[in-house]
Symmetry: C2
Subunit: 403 residues, 2 copies
Amino acid sequence: MARSWLDIDPSSDFSLANIPFGIIDTPEDVTRHVGVAIGSYVLDLKELAHRIGANNLLPFGAHSTPGVFETRTLNAFAKLGRSVHRHVRERIQDLLVRMFLPMDIGDYTDFYAGYHHAYAVGVMFRGPANALQPNYTHLPVGYHGRASSIVVSGTPVRRPVGQILLDPKAEPKQPTVAPSRKLDIELELGCFITKSNDLGHPVSIDEAEKHVFGYVLLNDWSARDIQTWEYVPLGPFNGKNFTTTISPWVVLADALEPFKTKGIENPTPLQDYLKEKREETVFDIQLEVDLTTPDGNTTTITKTNGKNLMWSFPQMIAHHTLGGCPLRKGDLLGSGTISGPVPEESGSLLELSEGGKRVIQLNGGEGRTFLKDGDTVTFRGFCVGKEGERVGFGECTGRVEGA
Amino acid sequence: MARSWLDIDPSSDFSLANIPFGIIDTPEDVTRHVGVAIGSYVLDLKELAHRIGANNLLPFGAHSTPGVFETRTLNAFAKLGRSVHRHVRERIQDLLVRMFLPMDIGDYTDFYAGYHHAYAVGVMFRGPANALQPNYTHLPVGYHGRASSIVVSGTPVRRPVGQILLDPKAEPKQPTVAPSRKLDIELELGCFITKSNDLGHPVSIDEAEKHVFGYVLLNDWSARDIQTWEYVPLGPFNGKNFTTTISPWVVLADALEPFKTKGIENPTPLQDYLKEKREETVFDIQLEVDLTTPDGNTTTITKTNGKNLMWSFPQMIAHHTLGGCPLRKGDLLGSGTISGPVPEESGSLLELSEGGKRVIQLNGGEGRTFLKDGDTVTFRGFCVGKEGERVGFGECTGRVEGA
């Protein structure tokens, strides 16, 4: 059981595992309303709903009842049903053990090292003959991302508004400003830097491992329709910079060391600055993605593995600093979307839905191509050792809010 | 005259404007060597050269004489000639009034709002029919840059090593790892943000001006050969992230307000979120670029004007935040390269040399297509009002060091 930042007596009936509901008033607010008990404290839900917004306590389906914590009895709340009760209780537990962004992030760089993802997306846009650009196997392709919009797991993800082409084939091209209709996820690993290099001083591949602090799961939320229109010729911008979610616990480099394995073979002879001494350079991490609908039905929409990378983080570090660019303590590198070799193991809805042409069937009968408002996406990742020892990341989760 | 951080008596013969040379010894170093007098202090040049490197005191042409400050008389130094004396004196003055990066920069975004530059470079790469991408007149195209390698004017610029294609037409493509042979400048304005917006909360075009702190000159040093090979499909990376130089003094938004003028007309009807109330949205700033060779010959290689932008900074802010991306206090936006409508007014060597095909003639008889080691590039920018009042940026300068 998680511990709260509140000082809760372990012998209290009203532990974080309980969260009983009742009717209170306070010297500041003498109208009766709803509260919960936690240890020897009372949490005023009317006041909390005012401060953080009732919609941050209630599930998406109950957003039309924001006044439910302001009533004189619990009847209105009771009537909302068990799934709402569960949601509110879990939200309160979350609030009491809130996690924060674990690092001050200076710069964030997102790579594209997931070969199967790069290839599958390339086929969609350019056909199989030109799926990968000629540079792909020569260097770890990457671009600078946006540090200011990186958030910790659990932070709501607002659907971005942007310029999109509703009819991409019409000439002249006429974009519309609208909420994205192709909101997607990207399943990635994130790597935090612990040791800075000075401007003008590259990090050699043999030293690169010493610059790694640890790893997180990373969801590079992407608005495909915004991205498609904006990204030429300088790369993704508003299609990516609205939110990037990372898991809250940094798994140290040493904890993952036993799970190193071979990555995807690169047919191209490497430049010296990218040559590693070991063959095992990426991680055997089991990765899973759950999609939970507003109704509460959860489906595991993909399972894949962290080893599906053609470039390792040490290679990314060596390449990033080759021209002298300084990486600083706290900088974050993303691996790029991790997809397996078969379509079911894809790390994005773009691939799972074949560019929106195939409906992904969910438990409960709904289907998806891209995300709907109220959907929650949760990444999990863990390694299992030879003797069954497990090293995991916990969750990287976010719920989509309307634009 | 600049003031030093040293406490110099105004009546001293040995002001910052003097810097006389002499022979000294010290309790720590009893061998006679070279020093200079500043106020009531003596600066030990032998010790200084040890600490910062003699090459940081001497000009490029005199790098073979690092021991010149360790001799028992000034004869060796005297023999180096007047241009070396001038360089060392100015370096010492610089060191004594050193400027620093004026802001803690969170994120840096570089736009592409210089229409003539975008068009000219587009013609080079894709021909006149496809010079501009269809999105260009619909939104201010931009990409995320690298904050960690932004430096203040005067910081040396090390020529980056990177993957380059020596023979771009050979198949299969075979990159070489080598120092860039196409090191270039980009003449830009930088804009610092003073007011943050929260994640998920766009800044409206009418409010955008309030988010601006002030402006600097910005040199987005670019390695064209590295950039050409790496930039597909996700945009510029190592070709840009080795150094970005800004001028040290932030000119406040109010100081530039009287110099607002019309930018380049955009033939495309704007989306509402990009519509400004005034027609005067960019600045009438006279911009000049000097190139100084290692021999000390200076040539003004371009003159242009800050009004050569199709998008204003308020438009960039409105677009950047449209999907909810937070801009934070201290974030930096670059305008993109500013070139005038005719080739002589270009803000990059790529344009001035027509992609390396035309030699730019310099005073003293040398020519350039791209930068050589030891070259110094200096940007200047200033506005002149109706009554002759001048509002200027000072200098944004950097000297190229070998890889």
